[in-house]
Each structure stands twice: as structure tokens, then as C-alpha cells.
Amino acid sequence: MPGTPLVRPALPVSPISPVPPALPVLPALRELLPRGGLARGSVVAVAGFGLLALALLAGASAAGAWSAIAGIPEAGVLAAVGLGLDAERTLLVPDPGTAWPLVVASLLDGCELVLLRPPARAPAPARQRLEATLRRGHGVLVVAGDWPGAQVRLRVVTQGWTGLGDGHGRLRACCAEVTADGRGEAALTRTRWLWLPAEDGSVALAEPPDIPAADIPAAGLPDAASVRYLRTVGGLALVSG
């Protein structure tokens, strides 16, 4: 057939890959993360276990991903459910024991998100093997604690609760300053003020007027991390450390 070209141009590469590159997170956390989500195959470390770690799971879980929480027997499932975690799609392994790297690797086979609090000293070979497992799969490991190879590190720098006075009131909401840094595209330090949680139990970006003591870090202190100070602004106790 003379009209048929011998060489057809290649089909344009579909811009949408079958596996999205990042797992979604709650809208308030998007700006803290380099790709607006949890990059698949990566490790995201949160300095300590708290609502922030649970909030990282909530977005993807609400979108239908399975998540597992390992090594955190005290994880407040109700708070996580309030953030959007789907309890039906959550596995809990409160005590993964000494075989925790194997447990986490197994969990990553089935769950896209695993929140882990590793033992105090996670040996480097175990960590590296898990990272290799992660890269092969498409899951995300959220670590509550220290993880030297983490791509993104999140930390609550400052937090202050509202609503509780001296013998009266009740806990209502917590305004927290969260910083994110890490390696590669996450190297730039990002800082956001979040309601963690807001009064309705959700996570929201704090508006500038809500931020109670934005002037504190600028107070001329040489090293904010080495100084602990307490200030009360409008009934809100704010601590930096």
C-alpha cells in the first residue's frame, strides 16, 4: 500500500502514569511537602508521635489507601478517624517485636502507608533494607521518631493549646508551628502554622490573626532551640523549645 508510511510515529507517552507519584495528604499539609503529598517509595519522618503523624495518614486513607500503624500501641485511632482516617482500612500492629523490619516490609506489601515508631536504635542495615523495599514498591513509610535517611522531616516546633485556663475551661484547639525540611527537593525548610487539631478535630492552616505569638521567634534570641520560654498571650500558653 503506497500510502501507508513504513514508520509510524510513536504514540505520545501518556502524561498520567498508572500509579500517581504521590499519595494525597490533607489540604492543610500540602504546602509542607515537596510534591504536595507523600512521594511513593519515600520515608517521611516526624520528630515524635502525635497528631501530626496521624494527620499524615489521614489524607490518603480517606482517599481509599490502606494504612498500618506499627509499634505505637497508644495511637489514638479516634483522633485519626476525626481527621479522616478510614478505620476499616487500617491495620494495627501494636508490638512488632524484634522482627519489626520484616513486619514493616510485610505490611508494605499490602498497605500503601505504614506509620512506624522504630525502636530507639534502628540499625542502619535494617533501615537500608526497608528503604530498598520501599523503592521497589509504591508505599510510603511514615516514621514517628528518628530516621537518618528520611526524604522529608517534619517537626512541631511550637505548640500552644487554647481553651484551658487555671482551673476552668477545656481543651479546644492547638495552634502549632510545623517545619519541614529534608533532602533533595525537600531541602528548603518550610514552616507553616497549623491548627493541630482545630476545634472540630480537623487539621487546618492557621490564619495570621490566629497565630498567637508570631513575634516570639523574632525576639532577638540567638538560638531559639536552646532556649525555653513561656509566655501567655490572651489565655494561650505558648512554648518554644
Binding site: V46, F49, V77, A79, A87, E88, A99, P125, G241
Partner: protein, 508 residues
Amino acid sequence: MSAHPAAALAPAALEAGVQRVMVVCCPDLGASEPDPAAVQRSEPAVAGRSEPAAAQRFEQVIAAVTGFCPRVEAVEPGVCAFGARGPARYFGGETVLARKIIAALADLGEQARIGAADGLFAALLAARGAERILVIPPGETAEFLARQPVSVLAGQVPDGQELAGLLRRLGLPTLGDLAALPAGDVAGRFGVAGEAAGRLARGLGAPPLAVRPPAEDLSVTREFDPPETLAEPVVFAAKALAERLHGGLAARGLTCVRVQVEATWADGRESRRLWRHDGLLSAAGVADRVRWQLDGWRAVPPGTEPPGPGPAGQERGDGGVAVLRLAPDHLVRATGHQLALWGEAVVTDAVARAAMRVQALLGHQAVLRPVVDGGRNVCDQVTLVPFGEKTEPRLDPGAPWPGRVMGPAPAVVYPFAREADVTDDSGAAVTVSGRCVASAAPAWLAVEGEPPLRVTGWAGPWPLSERWWDPAAARRRARFQLLTGDGRAWLAAVQDGRWLIEAGHGLG
């Protein structure tokens, strides 16, 4: 007549493992009537007409029949069955055996009818016939079944009575007519009940038995001599074992809810684990579980130092697997109804495999699923259910629970409340009076194992008196919310004069 399709199928049915079954039917003791017309019950009889005496007499009947054959299975009140081949050979024929049993039961004052045929269903029908003893010779069961009216299906298959009526109206008055239809068409037109009925009519399916004693010898065992040190041959043997197990269960129309895998090592240690089965696992699926169990055992041998996360050691000191045993646990009738394996459809295969792998490593109770629950205390509001079991809230989470502590749910809920000391400025412990008044403002919080923290805000006490009507479960507590200098918030309670930290909002 011999060209009847059902008759032609009979040898195949025999080869498929249909056994000679003898049924002893005591019409006085159960709902089973000799008159076939009265068999048209929609419900299988239960509990011997609520007459405890009948149940006791039936126990005696079973005990007497057990004298002739040790493995007797109670089919329904007043009816028991056993495999006839062995006993018949021993006693000199089925008719002789039947006469002996009738004589033995007559000594107990029971009138019994006995039927023997290929398969339980035909034997049951034979026992319900007009004769005291009806033995259908081997190979003639299909003809016998073909003559039976479809009404005998009532109580044997789901909705049997309606199905029988439908079949009659469609011009299929006998089981032979039903057996003549292609099995696939019957299943397509009449569903599960039709398929079961078709199998019965062909002499293939037997109504399931409740085995007495349960599960005793349905387990299958394989011994390894010398003990097998590698996992692969054990897993391979496990697959064959599982096929035998499934075959044994299927021959009795049973399925098991769980299967227990027991491995005994050459040094005498044992590893036992129950796996969810629900009749849905293939032999390969069971073999997978055996593999995971062995892996788990190898990764962390109890009582020894774990070899670390490295690949399972090839040479270990345990000497290898000596015995592998699969035992069915919790036998149920194989109804053919396939519910979603995990109670809900959300669990994908990958998740189930991952969870079961971890269960193999750590045990059934180690992988949990949370269920949001009702309750007034934070620790009550989530129930943890082992993976694979049914997840249902105990209490209604949607109901109002006055007395719940207000405020956002805590991110940290301690599974066991932590002890704490709360002191005032002078260093004296803060107490709560019977009228729920705090002795002083809390100034310091020392949670066990942590240095004291300055209390920067507090509220309470909020009383909670639960289950005062039940002395064993009653508890009174006064709850506080505390804020400490490091920015953390705590949910504390005073109970019996002790401070307990139930939950908190952690850092991060």
C-alpha cells in the same frame, strides 16, 4: 430403565467416593416420619421436639449403635448414620447388621427403621421408607433415587419445599427427571438450591453431617523421617496434606472455619497456629500459610535471640520439621454460600496476605483492626479486633454518651493508663473529695518514668460514675485536663485516690 441417565452416572458417583451409608431412624425420637408426605417440612427438625427425654433416649440410641460402629454421626434428631462398609463386612452383611441393630435398639424399647444405600441422602430415604429394613444394593442407588418424588428434597436443600413445588409444576415429578437435566442448566435456573438438589438426585452430594466426635480424625498428618530442614519440601508436603484434608471434609459435606497448622520440630518444640479458612482456602492457600508459619518461626524462634532481619538461616539448631499436622477447627456444613472472606469486601487480597504474613510472624492477636465504639472513656471508644475476625462495635458509637470528656479526641491513648503523681505548689499530692472538689490546684505532673512537668493550665474535676448498679464493674472517677510546660496536654483521672493518665496530646 437401565439407560436412565441417573443410573449411568452411578458408577462415577461411586468412584467419586460415595460411601455405603447406613441410616438408623427412630421415628419416635425425632421429627422424621416414615410417611414421605410428612417429610415435606420446610425446616429441618431441631432439638427433638423440644423434649429433653427424647434427646436423652437418642443419646442412648447413638451409644447402642456406636457398639456396632465407632464413628456414628447424628444427622438430625432421631436419625444417625455411619459408614456401613466396614461394620457390614464384620457382621456378615448389611441386612444382618441392620437386624442386629434393630434387635439391640428393641432392647432399649426403641422402634428403629434402617436404610442402607450409596450416600447418605439415599440411605436416609431408604430408612424413611415403609419397610423396617431397606437395603439398596450397591449400584442401584441411582435407580432408587430416580423413583423418588421431588418432595423428598424438602428439608434437604435450601428452600427445598418451594423448589419441589416448582419442579412438580414444571413437569419434573421425580428426582430422576431432575437428574436427567444438565447440571449447569439446573444450577442456572434454580440457583444454589437447584444445584444442591441436582447433586442429590444424581447421588453425588450428601447432606452434610455433624461429625461425632467432631474433627477427631479429619486431621491429616505427615511425618518427616529424617526431619526436613528445608522449608520448601515441607510446604510441598503441606499442599498434598491440604488436598487430603479438603477431600476428607468434602466427602462429609463439611467445611471448617479455621484450620490449625501444627509443626513439630525434631527437638520437640511445637508451633501451632490457627488460620482462617471458611472453606475458601485452596490447598495452595493452606500451603502458603504453612510457609508463612514456618517463616515466622524461623525469623523469631521463641526463647532465643532473633537472627536479625536477614534471610532465614539455612542451618539451624532445631533439627528440622519432624511432623506436620493440619487439623480442621470448628466444622460447619458446607452450604456453598460464600460470604466475603473478611466480613466485608474492603479487604483486598494483598492486604489479607500482608496481614496474615505478620500474623504468622507474631501471632493471630498481633494484627488488629480498630472499630470505633461507644463508651464514655477514651480507651473504650475504640475496640481492637484481630484481623480476620468479625468487626462489630460492642456499643453504639452514635448513641449519646453523656459524661464523655469534651474536646478534640486525644492523639495518644494509652492502652493501660499510666500512673502519675500530681502535686500542688507545696509538694502535697492533689486529692479529690467525695463531693468532687480538688484539694488544691495541680502544679506539677510526674508521669511514671518521666521527669516532673510544670502544670501550666488545668480544668476539672469532672465526675464520672459508671455502672453503679454492678458492684463488679462500677467505677467512680474524677477527670482532669492538664496542660504542661512542654506544650503537651493530658487527660488524667483520679480513681481510688490514684492519679492515672488515660490519654494525651503528644508533641509532633
